[in-house]
């Protein structure tokens, strides 16, 4: 029985293959990998800390950690899961150093949350395409979410992670990740219902 190659079952142009190639010294593979994911990781960090300078610092730390751990990388999960787990850990470190305590209320304050959201203008014409105001409204609703629910939604949007991937990236159970994502999406749908 021959041992399996590290790249066995990995598509040639996949994230995992690129990361393995970079671990073997292929700098161009890193460039491609970075180009694919730099935007998602940056937005994930920026929309949680809401400070561009801090986001820059965290972003650099995430990729430097990736560079340092290139030789130890093995394909045990999706690359994006691995990447966002690194980003999540860095984010949690930042919260801890900033003295932010992450707690979640039982009902997540749903009633207060929806009462605080501004109502859509009554005379706004309906548009088929998503307007700039809708995007701004969504970002406002996102900022108002509890951090864990916001993180779950961001991981789904930016990293295209499943509930299982979100659970793995954030270090929680699948049910916890599912609950966070459910609450986040419910609030966002409710807040965006005026444009539906």
């Amino acid at each position: 029985m021959t041992p399996e190659s590290p790249t066995a079952g990995v598509a040639e142009d996949s994230d995992e293959a690129l990361m393995l190639a970079y671990g073997n010294g292929d700098a161009a593979a890193f460039d491609r990998l970075y180009a694919r994911h730099k935007g998602g990781v940056y937005r994930y960090l920026l929309r949680q800390c809401r400070d561009a300078a801090i986001a820059d610092e965290l972003f650099q730390d995430v990729w430097m950690n990736l560079i340092r751990s290139r030789a130890q990388y093995t394909v045990e999960a999706r690359f994006t899961t691995f990447l966002y787990r690194v980003a999540h850990n860095r984010m949690v470190d930042h919260w801890r150093r900033s003295g932010v305590v992450l707690t979640v209320a039982a009902n997540d304050g749903d009633e207060d949350f929806f009462e605080l959201q501004p109502a859509p203008p009554a005379d706004q014409p309906e548009v088929a395409a998503v307007s700039r105001e809708q995007a701004a409204r969504l970002l406002a609703l996102l900022d108002a979410l509890p951090p864990e629910q916001r993180e779950a939604f961001l991981l789904q949007q930016e990293g295209d992670l499943s509930i299982e991937d979100i659970a793995e990236a954030t270090g929680v159970t699948r049910e916890t990740a599912k609950s966070r994502l459910r609450y986040a999406m419910a609030k966002l749908r409710k807040g965006m219902s005026a444009w539906r």
Binding site: Y22, G25, D26, A27, F30, D31, Y34, K38, G39, Y42, R43, L46, A52, D56, F59, Q60, W63, M64, I67, R68, R70, T103, V104, A105, A106, N107, D108, V130, S131, R132, Q134, A135, A136, R137, L138, L139, E148, Q156, Q157, I163, T173, E175, T176, K178, S179, R180, L181, R182, Y183, M185, A186, L188, R189, M192, R196
Partner: protein, 319 residues
């Protein structure tokens, strides 16, 4: 009342509640870029990419690992080439300069150096290399402007003052006569400021030297007078040498043979007119002196007669 979110109960959470909502997805995609600053700064991009390249040893615009593979051998080769070139150059230059720059070897007599065993640089050096150390002391002690160039073979004057004075007197005399004035002056005044001052001012040595001869009752000493005159002439060029010359003349006078008892051609002598005369005239004169009662003059003339004519027998009347 706060509860763990796991305790909220995921009962009744269907797949539709966590599935992707197209409208939310569209709204979120629209927010990307609308809020601005959705991507990292270009400088941060460059820094991260550069760090990634450095981590694997790659450089932009270079053929990857091929250069790093050759970096060490190329460096070693360059260092070796430089080292060999430097050593070769230093050997060539050092071979030319070593004899002239070595103060110790320049002081060693040529015979000693040429006889030294296993001295490849000296043995293979050209003849001029052996001559050069002789000229080296010129740099250390430049000659006086007004003195003639010294003759290198004379080193006797310092030896005359050496303890024990091993040279015989005849040799000393010869050496003194051969010794050039400048060398004597240099040797005598070397390290002696008082003598150097005397050398700077002329001294009337000949006048002081002449009475010293007459005090001894020496009449002629013509040879010595000539020497003193020559010494005086030298003293005019180098007055300090006069002192040394004087002392040497005194030594010569002491070692000179005793003076003749009768002066040879004094005008007061009774045989002054008989210098070139034959022996019979000398005998006739002596008889005249005896007859005239000048026995002392006759005796003195007899002594001179015997000195001048030792082969002639004296008549009985004059004995």
């Amino acid at each position: 009342m706060a509860m763990n979110e796991d305790q909220n109960g995921n009962q009744n959470i269907g797949p539709a509640e966590t599935a992707r909502d197209p409208q939310l997805d569209a709204a979120y995609r629209a927010s990307v870029g609308a809020s601005g600053g959705d991507g990292p700064p270009a400088a941060l991009d460059d820094a991260i990419r550069a760090a990634a390249r450095r981590a694997v040893g790659a450089r932009p615009g270079m053929p990857g690992r091929s250069f790093s593979r050759w970096r060490l051998p190329l460096s070693v080769a360059a260092v070796l080439v430089l080292s060999v070139s430097l050593v070769t150059l230093m050997r060539e230059e050092g071979h030319d300069r070593l004899p002239a720059e070595d103060p110790v070897s320049s002081q060693v007599p040529p015979t000693t150096r040429s006889g030294a065993p296993a001295a490849p640089a000296t043995a293979t050096a050209p003849a001029q290399d052996r001559v050069e150390p002789v000229a080296a002391p010129k740099k250390a002690a430049p000659p006086a402007a007004s003195t003639p160039p010294p003759q290198r073979q004379v080193v006797a004057p310092p030896a005359l003052h050496a303890a024990g004075d091993p040279l015989p007197k005849a040799e000393k005399r010869a050496v003194l006569e051969r010794a050039p004035v400048a060398d004597s002056a240099n040797a005598l005044t070397a390290g002696t400021p008082a003598l150097a001052e005397q050398a700077a001012s002329p001294a009337p040595v000949p006048q002081a030297f002449a009475p010293s001869l007459s005090d001894r009752g020496v009449d002629a000493g013509s040879a010595l007078q000539r020497r003193s005159a020559e010494a005086g002439a030298r003293d005019e060029r180098a007055p300090a040498v006069a002192a040394a010359g004087r002392a040497q003349e005194r030594r010569l006078l002491r070692s000179a043979p005793p003076p003749a008892p009768v002066a040879a051609a004094s005008p007061a002598t009774p045989w002054a007119d008989l210098i070139e005369a034959p022996a019979k005239d000398w005998l006739a004169r002596m008889r005249e002196l005896r007859r005239a009662g000048r026995g002392d003059d006759a005796d003195a003339m007899l002594v001179e007669f015997r000195r001048r004519f030792p082969d002639i027998e004296l008549p009985d009347d004059l004995r």
